[in-house]
């Protein structure tokens, strides 16, 4: 559509890298929305209103992608022509799969026992695992190394971990309801 929206990083004037300055991202996002948001065009012509909605929508989409580490890594790989294929490529190292199963069982147990505290500590454990994978990505997507295949593998693992996190949150929600 527009020059600066050819990629999400450029839209916010940020270098295309996994390690980004999130405070700067937040600031640039707010700056951009301050210019393009529909509220700034409430008295404008319908043509300008439509433009504004499209721009604000793109800004939100770009921000959402860059803000989330998994989505950011996936997007960065796509820009370099590497698809993470999370739906079709489910081959995982055995130790990671074992860990997965252990976590799943633990979640189920805690859910059946209606043990909110257990779920909460599982949540923390999984968040730590996600942090480690993100650190791997920082290295794999770094300028010196650029191990793109390994990075794609880390993104697939992170997706698994994100899904577990969702499951825990949903279980907690159901228990509280």
């Amino acid at each position: 559509m527009q020059d600066s929206s050819t990629n999400h990083f450029a839209l916010f004037g940020l270098p295309a890298a996994f390690a980004i300055d999130t405070a700067l991202l937040d600031q640039r996002y707010r700056q951009l929305q301050s210019e393009v948001h529909p509220d700034k065009f409430a008295a404008a012509s319908s043509t300008e209103k439509l433009r504004s909605m499209q721009w604000a929508t793109s800004a939100n989409e770009a921000y959402r992608t860059l803000k989330n580490p998994t989505a950011r890594a996936r997007y960065l790989l796509e820009l370099q022509g590497v698809h993470t294929d999370e739906e079709s490529n489910t081959a995982m190292p055995t130790d990671f799969l074992m860990q997965q199963m252990e976590w799943r069982e633990a979640i189920e147990e805690a859910r059946d026992a209606k043990d909110l505290d257990a779920l909460d500590s599982l949540l923390k454990e999984i968040q730590t695992a996600a942090k480690t994978l993100q650190q791997d990505l920082e290295h794999q997507l770094g300028e010196e190394s650029a191990e793109l295949t390994a990075a794609a593998g880390s993104v697939r693992k992170l997706s698994f971990v994100d899904k577990l996190r969702e499951d825990i949150l949903q279980s907690m929600e159901k228990l509280e309801a």
Binding site: L14, E35, A42, A43, R51, R64
Partner: protein, 622 residues
């Protein structure tokens, strides 16, 4: 030094004149209207000095309609024709109303939205709400001395698409141009944050008459960013009244009551609740229509016990919102209490205990929402020159599509920042399938039957292909009001289908037109006069908007030829405005909009560049 410009007396300095814009809090129990005067947001009072307008509408025997205190005074005597808490019925079907046994109305189960049978005929909740809005519009126009440019109307953050659409329809019926639907907690945050110059993460705990919302916002240099919102659109102060009401029935061993006595005791229950905010006990005395006397004593402690489960019910959405925002209690800078029901001491105490800090109550919880809405209205109307206020709100409930087996495929997750668009590809199930039915739902549950149905529509004319070969891309766009439109497109053939979601729970365009006509006495000439007036106002607005844009950027962004082409269309429209052909005006408006497309695109690009002006743009080539 810049010289001040002063217009000749009697000449307006258009288009920089002050536009009359208001914020309206359309509440379950009370409604308010506020505006910004000399830089200060203030609530507008009625002739008797009342700030609140009770959200009560009474249809009288002689065809007249009373709104507010006059209607409220009669609610026990004329319960079936006096509608209170109509907000609870907005965008709701009969089976959505859990407690209809205690509501003294003759409900009619209509497709989409429940209706109420009154002596003035069958009324939709939209029409009843429109009466309240009309009363507020008249109050504002009287106080401000002119026709309103528009209004920001607040809705509970947890309102779904059907409830939002119903609110917007009611405003239209009341002759109000809606500048924006604004979420109540966000409005409160604006009023609160601007007053206090706050920065950081704040919780808005908003317990109104009939709805509960909790929103988490990050305030930073005039930007109000909603991180997460949650709530219960059927939980509010009314439920506390109802607990007292039921307690009275049990204690006094009363048989099922008639409509008058039900209303009498519900009103009494509300007074009891309010009294217990500042007292330890209350004497309840009421004389029923058959002469029986109710005489009971309720202590504050008993009241706390009776309603503790309701208080607990507000903490679940609070926890969910905290988790969605990915925050812990230490991140919270302050908790703001909004809504009259937060005056109850045990609510304040529960919130203080949960967050480990005393909630902020320094703004009147009844007025703060209207005050914030007025500030936003003032900005949207273009009156504020130091343009530093921006609200970034979210969609409260996930949007999805029905897939095989009655399951929901989520397309836009809750708490996505607005405006948002998301596309999802679907394919055909059978060989040679040429049509596909699309069912849009809203909610968090996995089964379609547990979510709210928003709309169904069909995409026809898919070229016959093998099963799974067609590619149907469905795009959801949710605008800044939180309202949805859906487009479906078959990718290989380009067959397209577009709807603005309305059918299942909103009112159809025909119904609205019908209501508008009947409310304007339906004479054909009136209808035409109204259409003409609307077209003229729209055209005038467009001309003003484009003149302002040309003045600002016409020289820098347009070639003389391009500018001339736009000015020619403006001239054409200007000539038509004074004539009485509404269709011709509408056509000229469309033509002018079309002529300014390139200009609009360039202006937007220039704005974006300006956002990062002076910064080093590292747009990397990849």
């Amino acid at each position: 030094m810049a010289l001040l410009q002063i217009a000749e007396p009697g000449m307006s300095a258009a288009p920089h004149q002050h536009r009359l814009a208001v914020g309206i809090d359309l509440g379950t129990t009370n409604s308010l209207v506020a505006t910004v005067r000399s830089g200060m947001s203030t609530v507008l009072h009625d002739e008797k000095g009342h700030a609140l307008l009770p959200s009560v509408v009474r249809y009288l025997a002689d065809g007249a309609i009373e709104v507010g205190y006059a209607a409220q005074a009669q609610q026990s005597h004329d319960p079936q024709n006096t509608i209170v808490s109509v907000k609870r019925f907005m965008g709701r079907g009969l089976n959505d109303l859990a407690d209809q046994a205690h509501i003294p109305y003759r409900f009619i189960d209509a497709p989409g939205m429940v209706q109420i049978d009154t002596r003035a005929g069958i009324k939709s909740p939209v029409e009843v709400s429109a009466e309240i809005l009309k009363a507020l519009r008249l109050r504002a126009e009287k106080a401000l001395g002119g026709e309103l440019t528009g209004a920001v109307i607040t809705v509970p953050a947890y309102f779904d698409d059907a409830q939002r659409q119903a609110t917007k329809d009611a405003a239209r019926l009341a002759g109000i141009t809606v500048l924006r639907l604004l979420n109540e907690p966000t409005a409160a945050a604006v009023a609160y944050g601007l007053d206090n110059g706050s920065e950081g993460v704040y919780i808005i705990y908003d317990l109104g008459g009939g709805t509960f919302d909790v929103s988490i916002l990050r305030l930073s240099k005039g930007v109000f960013e909603v991180l997460a919102t949650n709530g219960d659109s059927a939980l509010g102060g009314d439920d506390f009244d109802r607990r007292i009401f039921c307690w009275i029935l049990e204690q006094a061993k009363l048989p099922p009551l008639n409509a008058e006595d039900t209303r009498l005791l519900l009103t009494k229950a509300r007074e009891v609740k309010e009294w217990l905010t500042e007292h330890h006990e209350v004497q309840i005395t009421s004389v029923l229509s058959n002469g029986d006397v109710v005489n009971l004593t309720l202590t504050a402690d008993q009241f706390v016990e009776l309603t503790s489960h309701l208080v607990a019910k507000t903490l679940n959405p609070t926890r969910k919102a905290m988790r969605d925002a990915g925050l812990t209690l230490e991140d919270i800078k302050g908790v703001v209490m909004v809504g009259g029901a937060t005056r109850m001491p045990h609510i304040r105490q529960a919130v203080a205990e949960y967050f480990g800090q005393e909630p902020l109550t320094n703004l009147d919880p009844d007025k703060v929402v209207a005050l914030g809405a007025a500030i936003q209205a003032n900005v949207l109307a273009g009156n504020r020159s130091d343009d530093d206020l921006l609200l970034l709100d979210v969609i409260p409930l996930s949007l999805g599509l029905e897939t095989m087996g009655g399951l929901v495929e989520k397309v836009i997750p809750r708490n996505s920042t607005l405006p948002v668009a998301r596309a999802q590809d679907f394919t055909t199930f059978k060989d040679g399938q040429t049509a596909m039915s699309i069912h849009v739902v809203q909610g968090e549950r996995e089964l379609v039957s547990d979510c709210r149905s928003l709309a169904r529509f069909e995409l026809r004319g898919i070229p016959p292909m093998a099963a799974g070969a067609a590619r149907i891309r469905v795009t959801f766009q949710v605008d800044a009001d939180g309202l949805l439109s859906v487009t479906a497109r078959e990718q290989t053939s380009g067959v397209e289908s577009h709807i603005v979601v309305k059918p299942s729970y909103g009112l159809s365009e025909d119904t609205i037109t019908g209501m508008l006509q009947s409310s304007f006495a339906a004479a054909e000439s009136d209808k035409q006069a109204r259409a003409l007036r609307e077209a003229q106002v729209d055209a005038q607005r467009l001309l003003e908007a484009i003149s302002a844009a040309l003045q600002q950027d016409g020289d820098t962004l347009l070639s003389p030829e391009e500018r001339a082409a736009i000015e020619q269309e403006m001239q054409a429209l200007q000539t038509l405005i004074t004539q009485d052909d509404s269709h011709a005006i509408t056509r000229a408006v469309d033509a002018l909009n079309h002529a300014t497309e390139t200009f609009a695109a360039r202006r937007m690009d220039a704005s974006v560049k300006q956002a990062f002006a002076g910064q080093n743009l590292n747009s990397l080539e990849i």
